[in-house]
Structure formats: structure tokens, C-alpha cells
């Protein structure tokens, strides 16, 4: 079964490594992992899709929450949530096939974002099964290259995962700056 877990994490050096290392060590299978900024300065959001037996989402959630850099974790599988993924598909398109492909694009409410004499790039934002269906239909023409972002998701309704906990100013300064390489020239120091 697939579980969608959303984590708000401190945007600090190494945080992705910590999360990835935890998944590897505990044997959790990551289907997809999407990371981006949030409206809260210094906080990134990770959406992780995990494949595994029932009950694994709870362990994932609790193990993630143990990481100091992870601020909140939410199992979106348990909630009504909107899940979307974006795909860019470069499909082979001879001039005589272009019309057919454009019809398909329209049916799926996708968009063409690049055209070359022999290919098109089709963009679609949708739930995964819709992306899968589009892909299935494009495959006969020849999919040359493809990229998918992995799922991102938000719980429906007014419910919002946020950072409710305010840091002291000195903590905020420390957490936003520490661990990063200072700008400018550094001395050359050998052992």
C-alpha cells in the first residue's frame, strides 16, 4: 500500500541526507520524494510517498519526527487530501502524427510546451493515475524522455500543517545561518 507523508523540515545543510539516510536504514521504500520551500522562512516541505504494509506509515512518521530538523510530520493517507504530480513527456511526433497527439493532449487537458520537427514536449499536472493513462496513450508514438516530480499533496479543507512554535531571535539566527559556508575568502589552513 502507498502512503503519503508530508514533513515540514528546517531548511538546513544535511536535512535531505538525514531523511534519506533514515529511510535507507529502516528499510522504508521511497516511491517518490518532492521537496520545496514553504511560506514560512527557513522551512521546507517534503512530500514522501512510501510503499509498504499497513502500519509502516506510523513508523515512518515517528522515526521522521525523531529527527531534530523535522518540525512536523503528517500522514496524508489518513486525511482527505489533494495529490498532484507534474510530468514532462518528450514524445516522438512525425508531422503526420501530430494531430492525433494534440487530440490526446486535449482530452487529458495537458499542454504542449515545446515543439521540434520530430518531437513534442507534453506537460500535465494531475493525479498519478491520469498521468499513467496519458503516458500509456503516448507510448505507441515513442516516449523519448520523461520526468515526473513525484507527488505533492495538501489536506483538503481549512486544516493546515504549520509551524506554531516560535523560536527565540537568537535561535532563529543560529538555525538560519549555522552550518553554511560563510561568504567571502577563507584562510588557507592545512593540518
Amino acid at each position: 500500500m502507498k502512503h503519503t507523508v508530508a514533513a515540514l523540515v528546517e531548511d538546513r545543510p544535511g536535512v535531505l541526507n538525514r531523511v534519506a539516510s533514515l529511510f535507507r536504514r529502516r528499510g522504508f521504500n521511497i516511491d517518490s520524494l518532492a521537496v520545496g520551500t514553504t511560506d514560512e522562512p527557513g522551512i521546507s516541505r517534503m512530500t514522501i510517498v512510501v510503499d509498504g504494509p499497513a502500519g509502516i506509515a506510523q513508523q515512518v512518521e515517528r522515526q521522521l519526527d525523531k529527527l531534530i530538523d523535522v518540525v512536523t510530520v503528517e500522514d496524508l493517507t489518513q486525511l482527505e487530501a489533494v495529490g498532484r504530480e507534474l510530468a514532462l513527456i518528450k514524445v516522438a511526433a512525425r508531422p503526420d502524427q501530430r494531430r492525433e497527439i494534440l487530440d490526446l493532449v486535449e482530452v487529458f487537458r495537458a499542454q504542449v510546451v515545446d515543439v521540434s520537427p520530430t518531437t513534442l514536449i507534453v506537460q500535465l499536472t494531475a493525479a498519478e493515475d491520469t498521468l499513467d493513462a496519458l503516458l500509456e496513450n503516448l507510448r505507441p508514438y515513442g516516449v523519448r524522455e520523461m520526468v515526473r516530480t513525484g507527488r505533492i499533496a495538501l489536506a483538503r479543507g481549512a486544516r493546515a500543517a504549520g509551524v506554531h512554535d516560535h523560536e527565540s531571535p537568537e535561535a532563529k539566527r543560529f538555525h538560519s545561518e549555522s552550518g553554511r559556508r560563510p561568504e567571502g575568502d577563507l584562510p588557507f589552513v592545512t593540518e
Binding site: E10, P13, G14, E177, L186, V189, T190
Partner: protein, 563 residues
């Protein structure tokens, strides 16, 4: 504010944290830090002989005292030599701080001399780690690191500092308080959960307590006793929980698990309600999870919510500090006794004492030696052990009666832990006798620290249970690999000559009749002592739950062992 050098900020921070001892080993990139030690005489630097020794000593220091243990190493090999010790401390939730130097900031990632990506290496084996890129961040880093190491589920924290950060000038800014958005250790148990637990306990006919390391880490032995006495519930200990209740207490039934007693393991399997307190449901304590006791209701109190439902599904999980939760439970439960159930376990114990007794006969056995050392050293001494047969016999026969009396590597099972851990305990507790129970294999992994003990005048008594084998591996080969002994017979150096080489006392014991005199002589000698006990070569630890078996499948004697 006046500016200070990064090195001074580090040492000033350690002073602010109340750190009085650092176990360390110098090297190129930490030279600027070492240069400043003389200006901070409140901090005692103990020069070890191997960084692993520094790490285990910091671990032993922390376990013996409850205070933060600190180890320091240089970059590259110095740092990687700490890895075993960091893992060991973290796995047993010991509050420890590991400091490493690294190459200058400009050289990070350039594969320079003695560079290792040590924060990358330690990431999965610590509670948290830091690479400090500016001297201005040092004080905050140390304050936050110590807060993380010593609160919630305690553990190891690692700080890596490039060489030029030690040299950089910055203001010393000690934080008033630590605030972390992603870290809020829970202390009090959820009230509804406590009520449900109390109802299950009150209704139980055959309840049992599993008391783990958490009782000791949380200083909750008094609360454990009060809770057990009010509810009349018998108490079993995990290996690391030994000492949380004295064995002569009417409700204390000793150690459960792979080498726990027959009665403890059967009581665990027969209970209708399990109250697991500050323990993480480890396979060595519980055997095959699915058959540990599938019908019991499980009340699991742990400060780390990730331990709930990880190995055993809890009927009532309670997240909190076990000391606080025990107070809540004591208030919530009814006072009663469980005469029939306790008698059932007593009868079991009466019928099965033989498998947990010193074997009769004239041969010098580890069980005999350890019971003699325990009787002589008493409850106030500190006992450290390595890992293997001697460790299990120490757990069974050394009458561990108070928290922090036994210091042993439980989770990681690190051979070679014993000698440096004893050294750390001796530094932490100068008024206590420290005995380390060693295997002849483990002793040879880390005995270089004897030189440190000599320098620092640490009178640790090292009792080697010398059977010429890697005993526990040999036992498994005998029982589960049809006597096919491979790579377990070990030649030994002359341990008395090792003692002589280090200028300390060495005593060899080959017969039961010599044991008492040897222990007395060792205790009276004003320095470290090696005792070379030539014990039975092929003794086995009983009882035993074979790996993968259930607790109720405890085997008491070789004739019942499976081949």
C-alpha cells in the same frame, strides 16, 4: 563584548556546561584547541591511547555518573576511530558529546590530508550532529548539543569543527535558553492513557513489569519500587535495567531474555498484562516477538514514541519520562497484592534455581569467580563488562543492586568496551571501587588504555575470565553448528607480563582456593591490577533462549539443547 578565539569558546562552553573531564587524543587540526587547554585548568584532559578508548571512557563516565560524557578526537582517522564508541553510546541512550576537528573550511570536500566526511559518517548513529562553520556559532552549538544529548531520550551528539574555526575570533554568546521547533520531549504521560493503563493494571490477574535502562537513565528506581509495591506486581529486568530494583526485594525476579532465568521468561510469557517501563522491546530481551506473549495486554511507557509498536504492538502506549509517568500511575492504580500469581512464580523459581546457580565441583568457573568478586566488592562498587559469556554471567551472578552499578554494552554489544568504560567510571566515581570483568578476547581489543590508567592513577581492577576461547561464539558453534569450532580458539599473551610491562600488579588464579586471596590482594593494591583467571575452557551460559526462539522455549541445560 570582547572577542575570543574559537578554541577558547569551545572550552568556555564546556565549562559552562559543567564538563570537568574530556577524554581525548590530539592531532593536526585540533592543535589550536589543545593549545588553549592550559588556559582552562578546570577541565581535566585525559590523554587516551586510542580514540575508541576515549569514546568508551566518555560513555562509561556518563553511565557511572549520569553526567554528560565528552570525548575529543582529531580529523580523519581520529574521528573514524570514534565511530564504534559513538554507536555504542547512542544505542544505549547514554548522554554523550563527541567533538572532532576537521580540515580547514577551504579544504572541506577536497580530500585533503586526514579529511573524512565525519558528519556524513555519524549521521545515522547519533541523535544529532553539527558541522560548525563559524566561531560565532560555537557557543550556541555546544549549548544546543548538550541540551539534545541530555534531554528526552538521551543519546550521542557529535560536533565537527574545522581547524580555522578554532582560530577565528568571535564574541562568546551563550544562549539564555534553547528553542528548537522540531524537538519537544514529552515528560508527562497522556492522562487518558494513564487512566486506561491503571484500569488494565487493576483488573489484571497476572501482571508483570519489564524494567529497562530508562528507569536508570530517568533516576526512577524509587518510583519503580513504589509502583511495584503498591500494585504487588513482580519485576523483571532487561540486561540494562539491572540495578533498577535490588535482587533481594520481594518482588524482584531478575533478568529476562536470552540468558534470563527460566522463571522470569515463563512469567513474561504467562502474564496477562505487561507493564514495560523504559525499555525498547529488544529481541535479546523478548525472543521471537510474535510468540513473546501474544495474548497479554501491553502497557508500554517510553519517552521515545518511535519505540511504541516498533517490535511489539502496545495496547496502551504512553509517551513520557518514566519517572513522571510512574508518579501518575502510582496515583491512579489501586493498592493490592497478587499472592497467587507471585506464589506461582516463586514455585517456578524454587524448582528451577539450579540452572542459575554456581556449578558445583572443583573446577574454576567464571560463575564461581564472579560471585566471589560480587560478594567482595558489594553494591557500592562499579562493575563494567565486555560482551559475551562473561557479560551474561556477570548479569546472572553479580547481584546487581543499585542503578549505575553495572555498566555494560547492551544494544551494540561491543567487545572491548569493558576496559575503557571502567577507566571512565573510575574518573567519574573516584570514591568507588571499579572492577571490570573482561573476556580474554575483548581485553585484547582495548587494553592499551592501561597506560592511561597508570598516567591518571586510576586503580581499576581488571578481572580476565580467560578460557582461551571466544566463549559465546564457541558456545553457539557447539550448540547450533554441531561442534564445528572455527576461529574461536585464541592464543593469549602472558597477561602477567602485560601487567609487568605497564608496571602494574598482575595475579594469576588457577584454582578455586586462590580466588579469595587474589581478590583481596587486588583490592588492596593501590593501582590498576590484572587478574588472570584461568577458567573452565568450555563452559556454557544457561539458561538460554536460542536465537529466533520464544521466551517460553528457554532451555536450561545442554541435554535439552537443539542440534
Amino acid at each position: 563584548m570582547t572577542k575570543m578565539m574559537g578554541a577558547d569558546i569551545v572550552l568556555e562552553s564546556l565549562e559552562r556546561l559543567g564538563v570537568d573531564t574530556v577524554f581525548g587524543y590530539p592531532g593536526g587540526v585540533v592543535l589550536p584547541l589543545y593549545d588553549r587547554f592550559p588556559a582552562h585548568p578546570q577541565i581535566r584532559h585525559i590523554l587516551v591511547r586510542h580514540e575508541q578508548g576515549a569514546g568508551h571512557a566518555a560513555d562509561g563516565y556518563a553511565r557511572a555518573s549520569g553526567r554528560l560524557g565528552v570525548a575529543l578526537a582529531t580529523s580523519g582517522p581520529g574521528a573514524t576511530n570514534l565511530v564504534t564508541a559513538i554507536t555504542n553510546a547512542h544505542m544505549d541512550s547514554v548522554p554523550t558529546l563527541f567533538i572532532t576537528g576537521n580540515v580547514g573550511r577551504n579544504l572541506l570536500g577536497k580530500d585533503g590530508f586526514q579529511e573524512a566526511d565525519i558528519t556524513g559518517i555519524t549521521m545515522p548513529i547519533v541523535k544529532h550532529n553539527y558541522l560548525v562553520m563559524r566561531a560565532a556559532d560555537l557557543a550556541y552549538t555546544f549549548a544546543e548539543a548538550a541540551y539534545i544529548a541530555t534531554t528526552g531520550r538521551k543519546g550521542a551528539v557529535h560536533i565537527d569543527i574545522p581547524k580555522d574555526v578554532f582560530l577565528e575570533q568571535a564574541e562568546f554568546a551563550w544562549p539564555e535558553r534553547i528553542s528548537l521547533r522540531g524537538y519537544h520531549p514529552v515528560t508527562e504521560g497522556d492522562h487518558a492513557a494513564v487512566e486506561r493503563a491503571a484500569a488494565a493494571i487493576d483488573a489484571a490477574q497476572r501482571p508483570i513489569i519489564f524494567a529497562g535502562h530508562g528507569i536508570i537513565l530517568a533516576e526512577a528506581a524509587e518510583e519503580l519500587r513504589a509502583f511495584a509495591e503498591k500494585t504487588g506486581i513482580p519485576v523483571l529486568n532487561t540486561l540494562l535495567g539491572l540495578g533498577s530494583i535490588p535482587p533481594d526485594h520481594a518482588l524482584a525476579y531478575g533478568m529476562m531474555g536470552m540468558h534470563g532465568s527460566y522463571w522470569a521468561n515463563h512469567a513474561a510469557s504467562s502474564a496477562d498484562v505487561i507493564v514495560a517501563l523504559g525499555m525498547r522491546m529488544d529481541d535479546r530481551a523478548l525472543g521471537r516477538f510474535a510468540d513473546m506473549n501474544p495474548t497479554a495486554q501491553v502497557i508500554h511507557v517510553d519517552i521515545d514514541p518511535a519505540e511504541h509498536d516498533k517490535n511489539i504492538v502496545a495496547t496502551v502506549p504512553i509517551v513520557g519520562d518514566v519517572k513522571v509517568v510512574l508518579h501518575q500511575l502510582i496515583d491512579a492504580v489501586a493498592k493490592r497484592s497478587r499472592v497467587e500469581w507471585v506464589r506461582w512464580i516463586d514455585d517456578l523459581r524454587a524448582g528451577h534455581r539450579a540452572s542459575m546457580s554456581v556449578p558445583p565441583g572443583r573446577e574454576l568457573t567464571t560463575q564461581f569467580v564472579l560471585s566471589k568478586i560480587a560478594a567482595f566488592a558489594g553494591r557500592e562498587a562499579v562493575i563494567t563488562t565486555g560482551v559475551g559469556q562473561h557479560q551474561m554471567w556477570a548479569a546472572q551472578f553479580m547481584n546487581i543492586s543499585r542503578p549505575r552499578q553495572l555498566i555494560t554494552s547492551g544494544g551494540l554489544g561491543t567487545m572491548g568496551f569493558e576496559v575503557p568504560a571502567a577507566m571512565g567510571a573510575a574518573v567519574a566515581c573516584p570514591d568507588r571501587a571499579v572492577w571490570t570483568i573482561c573476556g580474554d578476547g575483548g581485553f585484547q581489543m582495548t587494553f592499551q588504555e592501561i597506560a592511561t590508567m597508570v598516567d591518571e592513577r586510576l586503580p581499576v581492577k581488571m578481572a580476565i575470565m580467560n578460557n582461551g576461547f571466544l566463549g559465546m561464539v564457541r558456545q553457539w558453534q557447539e550448540l547450533f553448528y554441531a561442534n564445528n569450532y572455527v576461529a574461536v580458539a585464541m592464543s593469549q599473551p602472558d597477561f602477567l607480563k602485560i601487567a609487568e610491562a605497564y608496571g602494574i600488579c598482575g595475579i594469576r588464579v588457577t584454582a578455586r582456593s586462590q580466588v579469595d586471596d587474589a581478590i583481596r590482594e587486588a583490592a588492596a593494591y593501590p593501582g590498576p591490577v590484572i587478574l588472570d583467571f584461568r577458567v573452565e575452557a568450555e563452559g556454557n551460559v544457561w539458561p538460554m533462549v536460542p536465537a529466533g526462539a520464544a521466551l517460553h522455549e528457554t532451555i536450561e541445560a545442554p541435554e535439552h539443547a537443539l542440534h
